[in-house]
Symmetry: C2
Subunit: 469 residues, 2 copies
Amino acid sequence: MDELENADALDYETIQEQRNDELSALLDSRNMRALKQRMEEMNEFDVAEFLSEIPDNRMPMVFRLLSKETASDVFANFDVPDQERIINSMTDSELAGIIEELYLDDAVDMMEELPANVVKRVMRAATPQTRALINQYLNYPEDSAGSIMTAEFVDLKKYMSVKESFARIRRIGEDKETIYICFVISSHRKLEGIVTVKDLLLADDDTIIEDLMDRNVIFATTTEDQESVSEKFSDYDLMALPVVDTEGRLVGIVTVDDIIDVMEQETTEDFELMAAMTPSDKPYARSGILEIWKNRIPWLMFLMLSATFTSMILTHFESMLAVQAALIAFIPTLMGTGGNSGAQASTAVIRSLSLGDTEPRDALRVAWKELRIALLCGLSLACVNFVKMLILDGMIMKNEGITIPVALTVSLAILFIVIFAKVVGSMLPIAAEKIGVDPAVMANPLISTVTDTVSLLIYIYIAKLILRI
Amino acid sequence: MDELENADALDYETIQEQRNDELSALLDSRNMRALKQRMEEMNEFDVAEFLSEIPDNRMPMVFRLLSKETASDVFANFDVPDQERIINSMTDSELAGIIEELYLDDAVDMMEELPANVVKRVMRAATPQTRALINQYLNYPEDSAGSIMTAEFVDLKKYMSVKESFARIRRIGEDKETIYICFVISSHRKLEGIVTVKDLLLADDDTIIEDLMDRNVIFATTTEDQESVSEKFSDYDLMALPVVDTEGRLVGIVTVDDIIDVMEQETTEDFELMAAMTPSDKPYARSGILEIWKNRIPWLMFLMLSATFTSMILTHFESMLAVQAALIAFIPTLMGTGGNSGAQASTAVIRSLSLGDTEPRDALRVAWKELRIALLCGLSLACVNFVKMLILDGMIMKNEGITIPVALTVSLAILFIVIFAKVVGSMLPIAAEKIGVDPAVMANPLISTVTDTVSLLIYIYIAKLILRI
């Protein structure tokens, strides 16, 4: 049973696989007692993973083998469809047992995703206090500190001694999300300070909490955005952050494991926005095709219709382009280069804004920086393109339309398009941040649509100047 | 001094601002004693932020006010230019003091970024043991568990009692990155289990660690990629993860605060790859324009040259397009729609792969899903485009080239292009993962270049069929 005894040159993934094989063998041979014992020793995430891979009809039966404590921990690690399956296989009193054992934030998360009829059943099974708390938490704005916090923390009073504090931690600590950070509150539940178990361990038994606590508490308010909460964890290397209401009363805490989930969720959201999709809380693998269609079609439609400008420009200059048909062949090159240049600048700025390295007030500095980068990139691209057009398109491919003035036209257009794309690409996210829109929207798809139109105009204008058409 | 006493309806940001104003006033009035006292009470991140905003010539002087312990904590929170500035203003013995107080992982991080001559001076100032450890850590592969771990952990032996363990924690705990997770090792330093301070607090004084420890330890190996390490933190909700060498000996631990930095770094890397930039460790705001140019130009150049295919196709079909000049006007629309559709699919799959929701073996399932989504999206776009072309371009703009067959050609092309883009866009990241390339490379810029070429071919083929040209 000792995982590490044979761990020479093994990694945890191999151990996991071996263990899953062993568990499946126990299940197949119906050796339920050994299976139960083995699962109880495992990490609850691994148990959840194992259970979610066994056939649906046997899964609830295996789940029932678990002790009450393990069961609720495993349950919290399930994804929503597995949670639903388990709930549907349970009696009301079994369900009540699980709900009361769950941490409040896990229960609230689950409620936000379960279908309404299942939520109703769960709420009926919960005790009145739990039900009231869940309802209260469900009322905080989505993605606020209030919506991700939990109520299971250790609170102390400042007149307690270290010895009394340890006694309290031992008494109530079992069910708390963390016992290592304790929150010192007044009789009106106002947050007065924090004290860590490390402070307590290193202090004398008779020391009074007031002399030990850190008054300089970093905290969040219930309505604060979860992105700002996660920045605090990253800046201050926190394990837990207290959440206070408008009166400064401690109403909950956020723990670092929840912040890791928040960070993943926020990153996914940015990715989706940057690829012109409506963000969704549901993982891709679990979303239906109609749902995905609904998230993708609005932007696709908008961007397709926006491209009407480019067709109008092309139609308008049809006769001119007919004179110099060779010019048409380079339209995709110009649009692609413009889009890519703009996307680089906008992505760099979007990320820098979200990490807090760049602020909206840096707009001028950023524009100046991108202007110089664009000059460097634009000149390199223009020179290479000029030579490439004359040698590859002109001499090797024997395209007679490729003259030096034509190559010059395309190359100069590249230079100006890159400059335009990079400066505008870097400014749009900053402008978005200023007016309170998520800067991630100003990414490749939108930038490309903007640069496409302008690229064409730049191209045609330069062609008129150089080729006199 | 009590931050929270006046915290009614305040958020932490307002408190911060007020405090920074107060500190600046103390500095201006040269009230150094009050300034020192105030800084000592503050969180070290806030002190670092404050110091990095005061003028360069005064900053080292204010930094010297700090006590040795606070100084090293603040130092660890500086960014590299500020660290360099401080090092240059210090005597060797002051420097030695800071280095010995730093956590090893912070010291190693700093060494990786400081200029060579400063690194040399720091190494000279360190004690031989610290120097040897730093050198050992610097030798682990970049972005491996070994390169982000630290050596400051609490180790216990399994024959110890709870009482003895607490005595050891009290003795050596002061300088450890975490004391809450203790690592049980054999006389050969092999990792045998872990025990938390919570377990210890809830147990009797005479209990033996062996009976208390969790043998089912989740661990990483020194060469394991940091992305896999951060997945373990997210899956198992860990606070700290032991890192073992190939013989199963405990060589270090990774703590959750470092993982938050890793997650930010990995996300930035994905963003950069997805926007066709070479990833860089250096924040945008601190990178020079030549550096940024070097990271951006290779992809831009490659993508520009790849667009040669589209110009060849257009040149080849020049005469055919001349017959139906109206077709040219819709090339940007088709390319844009293809690129955006492909980018949506590839981004969704890239993110799903990186969260572990989708595995390479799901390739067929993903292709089937994207095919159906593409049908829905393609049909919606094609219908809207058909109507739009006839009404807006044809009737309102009075473009005589827009006939029903032309509108049908463009609309059918949209349908097939969206299908191609979505299926290929979803498969390329999976293929990349399979051959060990970062899937993030298969994002918008590369997908667009692939779909641009194929979109043109689809368009021309459909035009030939319908318009018989």
